[in-house]
């Protein structure tokens, strides 16, 4: 183990939490040991211009004495990654406020992370149960007679919990699950905040579908076999550029499935097209 002499050391001990920041000067590592026995040392800052031992050797030597300290290399230029044993490198000088706050960030980062997402994940699981069976009110957790303000407050609370920006640290599977949940929360909110949509929803009339799979071919518009056949012919005629024929087929298809709005709409559309 390297035993740096006091003269060689330009270390700054920063017990940031507590006595404040900045105790600078030559420090004997034995003193550091004694000091750290009594108080918590949060950071060790070593300047890069050490002749001997190297800053890395010094920090390594002191690591045993200061097991909980963030090891920070202080440099003249910005350094990407100082490597072991340093937790980070900071350029100096920078504005005091920036330096102090950067040291504090490195101290926080050097500590073992206590982040535990199990609570959130469990909550997403529970919330996601039978997502499709729940009413908009159940999704938002509000009473059927809730006011618009209650609805909005519930939406805001849930958004703050489950919006993708809030769950970036989660694994991908959990985020995907949370997104499905959040999309459902949003859909519920948008129906319940609109007086018209809410009234229709309460009356059991589905609001205009928002994620319905739309028909892709003309035939998809109908379930009546004869109508489907003529819809198919209409589409082929249209692709061939024969609009009159397409219209004729569509009209016939409409007689086979008279209540079909989609067919009617397509018919109007085609008739109106230039």
């Amino acid at each position: 183990m390297v035993a740096p002499s006091p003269q060689m050391i330009e270390a700054v001990i920063a017990p940031l939490l507590g006595a404040g920041f900045a105790a600078s000067g030559a420090v004997d590592p034995r003193e550091i040991k004694a000091f750290s026995a009594g108080a918590r040392v949060d950071a060790l800052l070593v300047t890069e211009n050490f002749p001997r031992p190297s800053p890395a050797q010094l920090a390594t030597a002191l690591r045993g004495a200061l097991p909980n300290a963030a090891m920070i290399l202080v440099t003249r230029e910005v350094v990407a990654a100082p490597g072991d044993p340093f937790h980070g490198a900071l350029k100096f000088p920078v504005p005091d406020k920036v330096f102090v706050s950067s040291v504090a960030r490195l101290i926080r980062a050097a500590r073992p992370s206590s982040t535990d997402f199990r609570g959130v994940q469990a909550d997403i699981e529970v919330m996601s149960l039978r997502l499709d069976d729940k009413s908009h009110y159940e999704i938002l957790g509000v009473a059927p007679d809730a006011s618009i303000d209650d609805v909005t407050a519930a939406y805001d609370r849930l958004s703050l919990a489950y919006h993708p920006d809030r769950l970036r640290a989660l694994d991908e599977a959990s985020r995907e699950k949370a997104l499905a949940l959040y999309l459902r929360i949003g859909a519920a909110y948008r129906v319940l905040r609109s007086p018209n949509d809410r009234m229709r929803y309460d009356a059991g009339v589905e609001a205009p579908p928002t994620s319905e799979a739309g028909p892709q071919t003309y035939a998809d518009m109908s379930r009546v076999p004869t109508a489907r056949k003529y819809l198919d012919l209409a589409q082929k005629a249209e692709i061939a550029g024969n609009r009159a024929m397409a219209l004729a087929h569509l009209r016939f298809a409409a007689t086979q499935d008279p209540d079909n709005q989609l067919v009617q709409r397509k018919l109007d559309e085609l008739a109106a097209a230039p």
Partner: protein, 552 residues
């Protein structure tokens, strides 16, 4: 441990970088104390680049190799009308690349617009690193609210090329609203009127404590301060012609000089009733330069530019209509962008909204401040600190109607949350030249919609879908966003393969497409190529090469 997340307002004219230090947003100055960097890149003969003020001063000296307003070009295909307009107005050379995207050709090399923007981003990244004393690798970058998918994507690519992980693309007006309302416990509706150098955006938001919900947004990507400059430059050309009978439009490089003079005149008129400028120009057949003593009163300026401001109100009407509000129902007015310093703009906007704008907001800095605050918030929810970590969550019994019980004690903290909207409708071209609208305009994001597609011939291997962007039901009247290809479809009789395609617009306003065969429940391969965007291969190719070195 990664360094701080910075917020970057990558503007048409200027770029600003900001970071949160000790809970306070600091607009980061360069070595000379300047907080605003002109978004100008000048290429030196040795291939190195200079950015910012020094580059701006080279606009008149070396117009062919000095690139400005690249933001107006980014993410657009070469055939876009905006590119055409730029070719006629800008001094540097814009050419068609082999990928049909515009490229800038100078000193014998082609540069993509992404690379030019990356050079600007790298410049402010260095300024931030120098100030913060550690590497900056993550950023939130702002874009105009009406930027489309390709423009957002290209901006993100520029960030990557500059060595930045772009955590979030944020809309500029939303960022401005955040800077105004963060941690203020406001509950009100606000309008953010953002008239920058090259773009105009209007966004209506509802602030509910730290939740910022966008109600509507609208904009015009070719309306801004440059239009005022060009109007003033034209006035100079007119008086020069009257006095000397010579059209300066025909003199090479003259318009570049005039643009700079016009900008100075415009800026002077923001605090003086009259501005003057001496314009020298060599006129063929005259001995020595002819000098015009140009004078412009604010009144004359106002007359000449009124219609530019008027155009913004057409866009405002549109946004208010989408939000279902009248201009009087907006409770607060925030002005953003350097052009809102023009007295004419302030006056007309005040009259339109029937209220005084907030004055304690710096229109040049507010967007970057908002971006930095949001970046800080993302980090807080990314790396929860000991005291603001996730509280234990309680789960209610959701199987019954649960009344007003509290659902979850959410990890709220102080981090703000933005709920934005998508500025354009997105649809698929259908048979007969129509559009099947999949995601409507002004939908809250993230959003996801699913459509089912079937094969139409036996053993069809590929389905091609044109993705359109715009509000018209007629396909030809919308912009082509790109092509979605479903490929390697399993062989089957026509109509037997059904593929559910999910169109998701994420919180960044970017489109993700996933597809699933509904019969086999297998993931279906898809490929989405955007018009005006770079392919993934092009991006990784570019990542292999360093950007041109900086001269400083």
């Amino acid at each position: 441990m990664s360094g701080r997340i910075v917020g970057i307002d990558l503007g048409t004219s200027n770029t600003v970088v900001c970071a949160v230090v000790d809970g306070e947003a600091i607009v980061i100055p360069d070595n000379e104390g300047q907080k605003i960097q002109p978004s100008v890149v000048s290429f030196l003969p040795d291939g190195r680049t200079i950015v910012g003020r020094q580059a701006k001063s080279r606009m008149a000296i070396d117009p062919l190799n000095t690139i400005y307003s690249a933001k107006r070009l980014i993410g657009r295909p070469f055939y876009a009308p905006e590119i055409n307009l730029a070719i006629s107005k800008y001094a540097y050379q814009i050419v068609r690349g082999s990928d049909d995207n515009p490229k800038i050709f100078l000193r014998g090399r082609h540069y993509s617009i992404e690379e030019v923007q990356a050079i600007v981003l790298r410049h402010v990244k260095k300024i931030a690193e120098n100030y913060l004393g550690e590497p900056v690798t993550r950023a939130v970058i702002t874009v105009p609210a009406n930027f489309n998918e390709a423009q957002r994507d290209a901006t993100k690519t520029a960030g990557q090329l500059a060595g930045l992980e772009v955590l979030r693309i944020l809309n500029e007006p939303t960022a401005a609203a955040l800077a105004y309302g963060y941690d203020q416990q406001y509950r009100e509706r606000i309008a953010v009127y953002d008239l920058g150098g090259g773009t105009f955006d209007i966004t209506i938001l509802e602030l509910r404590d730290n939740v910022f919900e966008v109600l509507a947004t609208a904009g015009d990507t070719f309306l801004g301060g440059d239009d005022f400059d060009h109007r003033v430059a034209q006035l100079i050309v007119d008086s020069f012609k009257t006095e000397f009978g010579y059209d300066m439009n025909s003199a090479p490089g003259a318009m570049q000089r005039l643009k700079a003079v016009a900008e100075r005149v415009k800026t002077t008129l923001s605090d003086q009733p009259v501005a003057s400028a001496m314009v020298k120009q060599m006129v063929p057949g005259h001995n020595g330069p002819s000098t015009l003593d140009f004078q412009l009163t604010r009144e004359r300026f106002d007359q000449a530019c009124m219609d530019i401001v008027q155009q913004t109100f057409v866009v405002c009407d549109e946004a208010l209509k989408l939000a279902g509000l009248t201009s009087a129902e907006v409770e607060r007015l925030v002005l953003v962008g350097g052009s809102t310093r023009i007295p004419l703009v302030r006056e007309m906007v005040e009259n339109y909204f029937f209220k005084q704008p907030l004055i304690n907001v710096n229109p040049d800095e507010v967007v970057a401040v908002g971006a930095a605050i949001y970046g800080f918030g993302l980090e807080e929810s990314y790396e929860p600190s000991e005291d603001s970590g996730y509280a234990p969550l309680t789960s209610g019994d959701y199987s019954r109607v649960s009344g007003t019980q509290s659902h979850a004690s959410a990890p709220q903290g102080r981090a703000p949350l933005l709920i934005d909207v998508t500025p354009h409708a997105l649809g698929v071209a259908t048979v007969g030249g129509y559009v099947d609208v999949i995601i409507s305009r002004n939908a809250s994001i993230p959003t996801r919609m699913t459509r089912s597609f079937a094969t139409s011939v036996d053993n069809q291997e590929v389905v091609r879908l044109n993705i359109l962007e715009g509000e018209s039901r007629v396909a030809a009247e919308n912009r082509l966003l790109g092509e979605l290809v479903l490929f390697d479809i399993r062989p089957a009789k026509r109509g037997e393969v059904r593929i559910d395609v999910s169109f998701e617009i994420n919180a960044d306003g970017m489109l993700n497409v996933t597809a699933r065969d509904t019969v086999t429940n297998q993931i279906q391969q898809t490929r989405l190529s955007l018009a005006g965007g770079l392919s993934a291969a092009q991006v990784s190719e570019m990542m292999q090469h360093d950007l041109p070195a900086s001269a400083f």
